[in-house]
Symmetry: C2
């Protein structure tokens, strides 16, 4: 997608030197656009751990390239395999709860094993990393194609008047390799000339909406308005939202959706006002083991400092300010679960289905036992 | 209530010189506790306009004392009455939408008129100002007594285990002369030894929860936890909220409640999880003209800079930081309307009633035509 009028992915192989992996450092967005070069396993570890890169798809891709860098960095002798395994372990520990991280590393380990020489192993690692990244981008592109049909239909019903879409958090291209999930349908519809406008929930405490989603949309020239997380209900009561699309961090095969904290409140408001509420997600986020999302999906609690402090731009510099009384405590749940009954539909790379066991199993036929 | 271990009201007559009115300057809370002395009508005008004082009850009381100061400041000759009228006009323009402002000024104008000498007029203005302040404090105290019974009942049902109360925005003593509305029942219950804990919605964009409610509770030593506005639904899903109490800026006689933006989302979550949702309010906030809150109560839109920027403490100084891309726009609705069907009950100074026309008219018998 566009950043500073140039086409980017969130992670790529340096054009002049394919031993270097470049990423956009998302910690400074929207205030500063910084590209970092990753040359060692340590660099990749820090990039994931310190959240230069974040978001399910992007973490997976970064881990994939990290294993390629490990193969480059490894001693070209009998210690090669040991270095690869240690690197895998290290990268895996960067964000232990990220499902895509271990998935990409395991995929690389299996692939690299097949090489009969060190040179071949490096080549396999490179190809596999590219494949992981390409496949993530392709899934997101397809989600966009399917999802844009919903937007197109609403546009037709409104005789071409602006379609107002509300989104929560950032499930745009910055969270993946390209396109994103919740925003991909918006990008696709916009590129087809459909008149869209996005309400961007700022998404406290980490403000991924105000910082990342707003920046993404601004860079693509898509009309958008930032709102505090409190506003969506009022907008829906007054007919100012035609559609809600959010992403998902984990979805039960029964249709319950774990996503950024606050998603449930928007789903309630959408339901109360007959606004369609869609979740866009790659099929990799389905949890085939869990039936009851609210009681079974573990919810990450993060540090209270993310609530008590906030970061922003002051006189050209990024600064952190204290928002609460020094002595007050804060609690910081990262996600909540939206029950399937509030979800209109799920937008997968395969197509759209209802948020219930029957529809999901029909779409993923191979899972039927 | 307590501030720095001393008992305060939000506005008071200086003990050493009853020609000076003192207020807590709320702009710097929770980071700095500043008291300002108001000596002229201009001082009072600026205090209301620049929001040194805010909140329905406190604005009314400040206007009352402002008219007393006008009587003191007025020339003691034929021009006295003209100065009083001009001062009334000036004060009225400080926050034109605040209902309590014009109500207090009108009350003073009528009262002052009855004095037969300038000296007597000054005395009347002083007494009336005190009466407005005392009556506000008394109403809030009574709301606390009635509301605490709800908390006490829950405490009994839980066999004395902590009662978890969620509140949104600041409807505490800082918004009134003393005690507050939504927090008054909490203070009363706490003083009776009931084990309470308050979930404080930070209440973006102006963060009255994180700044003012958290500070109030911390100063009274009441256990509390600040949360982002996104969290309440998740807490309710997991049984971590026993009761929601919020304030009201305007309530229709049919029970629809206009309150700080985001209140509606918490009401939806409370309803979805069978959590009682109460609104605490002085009867002066009832609008006897309007039937349909959602379609008839005008909702104030404020400047986008309140969403795009936020203020906090950085190295001992209060600073404002930019949160969004510079070019992104923001929209800032100040209030939303919670339909009566989601409200469990209304806590007035007279007692508690249901949020419907019949119950409200039964409580305000004199309004029945």
């Amino acid at each position: 997608m566009y950043a500073n009028c140039k086409n980017y992915r969130t992670i790529w192989v340096n054009r002049n030197d394919n031993k270097i992996i470049s990423v956009i450092d998302q910690r400074y967005l929207p205030h500063k656009f910084v590209i970092e070069d990753l040359r060692t396993v340590d660099d990749v570890f820090v990039a994931i751990k310190d959240m230069l890169v974040r978001g399910a798809g992007l973490i997976g891709a970064a881990a994939g390239y990290g294993m390629y860098i490990a193969a480059l960095e490894a001693p070209k002798d009998n210690n090669f395999d040991e270095f690869i395994l240690k690197s895998a372990e290290k990268l895996n520990s960067a964000r232990p709860t990220a499902v895509n991280l271990s998935w990409a590393i395991d995929k690389q380990l299996k692939a690299i094993k097949k090489g009969s020489s060190i040179e071949e192993k490096i080549k396999i690692a490179f190809d596999t990393a590219n494949e992981i990244a390409d496949s993530d981008a392709l899934s997101c592109k397809k989600i966009g194609e399917h999802g844009s049909k919903i937007i197109e239909e609403i546009s037709k019903k409104k005789n071409g008047k602006t379609v107002n879409i509300l989104t929560h958090c950032n499930a745009g291209w910055l969270a993946f390799v390209d396109y994103g999930t919740a925003l991909s349908p918006v990008y696709h519809a916009f590129s087809k000339g459909i008149d869209v406008h996005v309400w961007v929930d700022e998404t406290r405490p980490r403000n991924q909406g105000a910082r990342l989603t707003a920046w993404e949309l601004e860079q693509q020239n898509i009309p958008h308005t930032v709102i505090s997380d409190n506003v969506g209900g009022h907008l829906m009561q007054h007919g100012l939202v035609d559609l809600v699309i959010v992403g998902s961090d984990r979805t039960t095969y029964t249709g319950d959706v774990a996503n950024k904290i606050g998603t449930y409140l928007k789903a309630l408001a959408a339901f109360d006002n007959n606004v369609p509420f869609y979740v866009a997600l790659p099929s990799s986020t389905i949890d085939w083991e869990i039936e009851d999302g609210i009681n079974q999906i573990p919810i990450e609690q993060r540090g209270e400092e993310e609530v008590k402090y906030i970061q922003g731009l002051h006189e050209g510099e990024i600064k952190k300010v204290l928002l609460t009384p020094e002595k007050s405590h804060a609690t910081n749940y990262g996600f909540d679960v939206t029950p399937a009954r509030l979800v209109t539909g799920l937008i997968f790379e395969r197509g759209i289905c209802k948020a219930n066991k029957k529809s999901i199993l029909e779409m993923f036929n191979e899972r039927k036992k």
